[in-house]
Subunit: 230 residues, 2 copies
Amino acid sequence: MSTNLAPPQRKKAGEKRDPTATRRALLGAGARLFSEKGYDAVSVEDLARRAGVNKALISYHFGGKRGLYTAVLESGFAEVADRLRVVEEAADARAGLHRFFGVFEDMTRRRSDFPALFLREAVSRGIEPAVVPHLLAIMGTTRRLAERGHREGLFRKVDPLLFHFSLVGALGFFFATEPARRRAAAHVRFEMPTPRAFIHHLEEMTLRGLAPEPSPIAKQQSNKRKGART
Amino acid sequence: MSTNLAPPQRKKAGEKRDPTATRRALLGAGARLFSEKGYDAVSVEDLARRAGVNKALISYHFGGKRGLYTAVLESGFAEVADRLRVVEEAADARAGLHRFFGVFEDMTRRRSDFPALFLREAVSRGIEPAVVPHLLAIMGTTRRLAERGHREGLFRKVDPLLFHFSLVGALGFFFATEPARRRAAAHVRFEMPTPRAFIHHLEEMTLRGLAPEPSPIAKQQSNKRKGART
DNA sequence: GTCTATAGGCTGATAGAC
DNA sequence: GTCTATCAGCCTATAGAC
């Protein structure tokens, strides 16, 4: 269910066009606006204007504002879950991890709205039921990656769920806050970190963090006991 | 500027009480509701009801809904920035990192609303100007921690900003999504990861990730060349 | 499928009595 | 400081013409 976020593409009043173009324009406008301002801060009038479409069409095509939101959200989650399947096809877990990060880096460009959409939804009460299957698929990917790495002797044993949250949290946060950083950078002096640099940093931290050697905490505690740790 | 989120504490109509109690009740209600539903989804009527206070008092004491929101946000950021100062007083960078995580673990209990509040704000366009100083203070803490660790020979050299985003993103995401997980756990079977376990996982990953040894990527690429890493 | 016009509800703020 | 009453504005949804 991939939805290229079609540019506004205004129509002259009364003109009858391809109905799927209307749907696509609305999905694109929804992705942009819901991600920027959050569900409640966006009005159907905003959405219609951005899509270059009459606001009554939101109810006609999606059954209302909430229906449009759900459709936008679901298409985003579906695409991520779909693209993450390449992780499983990698030669080994280490390559799989690399592909995992690659998918997120790609998303920066193809669906730059998604991270904020995702984060807002994650923080909200009650995740939209329609996206639960995709969410489980994504969590399954990281879980199998962690387990596979351990089986292959490439990763130490870690809790797959904690592994998942730390990766997804860091990635989601970085990409969702990129617009905020860009705006901040315009006012105060601020070196803008690139997505590429962040991904590289996180991959490096993760690979080192997963390397199957004894814990540095344990190592240090037995090596030198100098106390004073609270 | 610590604000114990006072329990609702209803008053009988017309009764004159301590004015600061009203302010505290409103701040507590704001922390809870804004964090749960986001700024736009909360009405002044919701806030007043939860605080057990007349809705006109929001304008009187805070100049309006937005003013209350800003006050809530600022008190949260101020408290985090304040408590993070113990990081600098640690014996070495490793102990400082441990304290850093300890502060976040504490926050789970003392200000469980804050992570969601923080994440929502971070994703939104235009961070509230009032919190910028505190935000810079927090970023300064992680930056100095990374630099100190490198000086002391405990950490490899990493970009302090990237280090900051990966830590704060992972922590913020985990804690902000805890209510969502709790609700999900009530419906589908789901082992709930504890804050303690997550913090431990992240600290372990971070310490290993920062250990001053050669990159496992470089190591692996020279050790065994089996290709297929798309 | 698209558009206009409008209904009906809720929102945030405040004037003015106490 | 607190409360009641009220207002103007915006919101989403829809009936009905085209």
